[in-house]
């Protein structure tokens, strides 16, 4: 005889008389009725479809921790396929660098696209970014991609997104350049984040974007909330600033985190997933 919990998990497949026994039990047991409702809700949630996502080109590999194996493999295949007349893969055979170099006619927007060149616009301050971002050559196409096309954000389709106040994000390591992250909003809800990279001459360029569904605002936690969380782990805080560096699977240019200073002199980090870590665990400074 199965436990009612197990029977509930299998109820779609139960045969008589077990089904009748379970139904009789449900009439008498509040806890199992609650569990049945929970299972229904979970099943409904599991069936929710994932949005359509356009895969990146084959061989245009991840920005972090690239696999040289795939690059070599793709290059080999490119040769084979070229012989067979299917040359589309050849362009992608350059591996990671191919991902960083937009093909002709593309907007050039994506994670980890190249640092800006002198062709950017003045970006010394938040006011500069607010004034100049709309003139960026990639700006219109980026917003268009959000509101229409194959990979549009359903929340933005047919709408006119607005641009929020840019956030200054400092690079944590000396080699990490500073940047601005600019929220894109629909109905006061952040749906995407634009990345403006800033070069040594304080010139900015829109070089990346990411969708955002983790919270109605970006970042998910304000500086005050970040300080409160960090304080609960490591004691009183004196300040918090947004920073970025590359930590595979955890942080990158478009996934900044809070650097929190404590009254004790300690430094902690609060990442996008909500975890708090002492600076000694990261070794970034």
């Amino acid at each position: 005889v199965r436990h009612p919990r197990e029977s509930l998990a299998l109820r779609a497949e139960l045969l008589e008389p077990e089904r009748a026994q379970l139904n009789a039990h449900l009439l008498a047991c509040d806890a199992c009725r609650a569990l049945a409702r929970q299972l229904d809700a979970a099943e409904h949630a599991l069936a929710m479809p994932e949005p359509l996502i356009e895969p990146p080109p084959l061989g245009a590999r991840r920005q972090r921790g690239a696999s040289s194996g795939l690059v070599a493999l793709t290059a080999t295949l490119a040769v084979l396929l070229t012989v067979a007349g299917a040359v589309t893969i050849l362009r992608n055979a350059q591996g990671d660098n191919a991902a960083a170099t937009p093909p002709p006619g593309s907007s050039g927007i994506g994670r980890g696209t190249p640092a800006p060149t002198q062709s950017g616009w003045p970006a010394r301050s938040i006011a500069d970014v607010e004034a100049n971002l709309a003139t960026d050559e990639n700006f219109a196409s980026t917003l268009r991609a959000l509101t229409s096309g194959a990979d549009a954000d359903p929340r933005a389709v047919g709408r006119t997104p607005t641009i929020g106040t840019p956030l200054l994000v400092r690079g944590l390591r000396p080699s990490d350049a500073r940047e601005y992250l600019v929220p894109v909003l629909v109905d006061d809800r952040v749906i995407a984040v634009l990345r403006v990279a800033v070069d040594a001459q304080d010139r900015g360029k829109l070089v990346g974007a990411r969708g955002w569904s983790s919270a109605s605002s970006f970042p998910a936690l304000s500086a005050e909330q970040a300080r409160a969380r960090a304080a609960s782990a490591f004691g009183a805080t004196t300040g918090a600033e947004l920073v970025w560096t590359l930590i595979r699977g955890t942080a990158d240019e478009l996934s900044p985190f809070w650097r929190v200073t404590h009254a004790s002199g300690r430094v902690s980090y609060l990442f996008e997933d909500g975890s708090v870590h002492d600076s000694s665990e990261i070794g970034a400074e």
Partner: protein, 186 residues
């Protein structure tokens, strides 16, 4: 390679015999990727916190597929790719679970994570919190629409094992999802 005739397949560009007398087939991976990449990416997205992680996993899937010495025929190709994707997803989920426990490489968690209110993100988060084999079984059957028998065959387990994973997975997922909806840690 000495070609031995037309393949009649969009997947196999050419087939023949090499100098050692072994059968050789040249696979049109571009076609395979264009045809099935999006389906597999959506499947993998269920198991990741971020889209770029899913893209990474998709590349892992094709890396493994392209390294395989035997590639199935057209009809069996997608289930075979799903199998690779499922194994890749399980490995990813296990690695993520280990990362949550390790103090250094990805860091000791000191306080509860931020709760994501987005429904799809909650589903993904709840799936990441249950045993990986159960998560994969749930997604294959309840999201991807595989029949139980086909899912069991695809995963290389007896149907009874899959049934058990589904039952336990339903209970574990429902608990984790309900906790996340209440703003608690999964």
């Amino acid at each position: 390679m000495r070609q031995t005739g037309e393949t009649g397949s969009k997947v196999v560009l050419a087939q023949g015999v090499d100098d050692r007398g072994d059968d050789v087939r040249i696979i049109n991976w571009t076609y395979v990727y264009d045809t099935h990449g999006q389906t597999l990416l959506r499947y993998l997205r269920r198991f990741t916190a971020r889209r770029d992680e899913a893209e990474d996993l998709l590349h892992d899937v094709f890396e493994r597929a392209m390294s395989a010495t035997v590639v199935p025929d057209d009809a069996a190709l997608l289930p075979w790719l799903y199998r690779i994707a499922s194994n890749t997803a399980i490995s990813h989920l296990r690695r993520a679970a280990i990362r949550r426990l390790l103090p250094l490489s990805a860091l000791r968690e000191v306080v509860a994570p931020v709760v994501d209110r987005d429904e799809l993100a909650l589903v993904r988060q709840a799936l990441r919190s249950i045993p990986p084999a159960q998560a994969v079984a749930l997604v294959l059957v309840l999201h991807e629409g595989f029949a139980r028998r086909d899912a069991a065959r695809l995963l290389g387990v007896p149907e009874e094992t899959l049934k058990t994973r589904l039952a336990r997975g339903r209970l574990n997922f429902a608990g984790a999802y309900a906790r996340l909806q209440r703003g608690l840690r999964a």
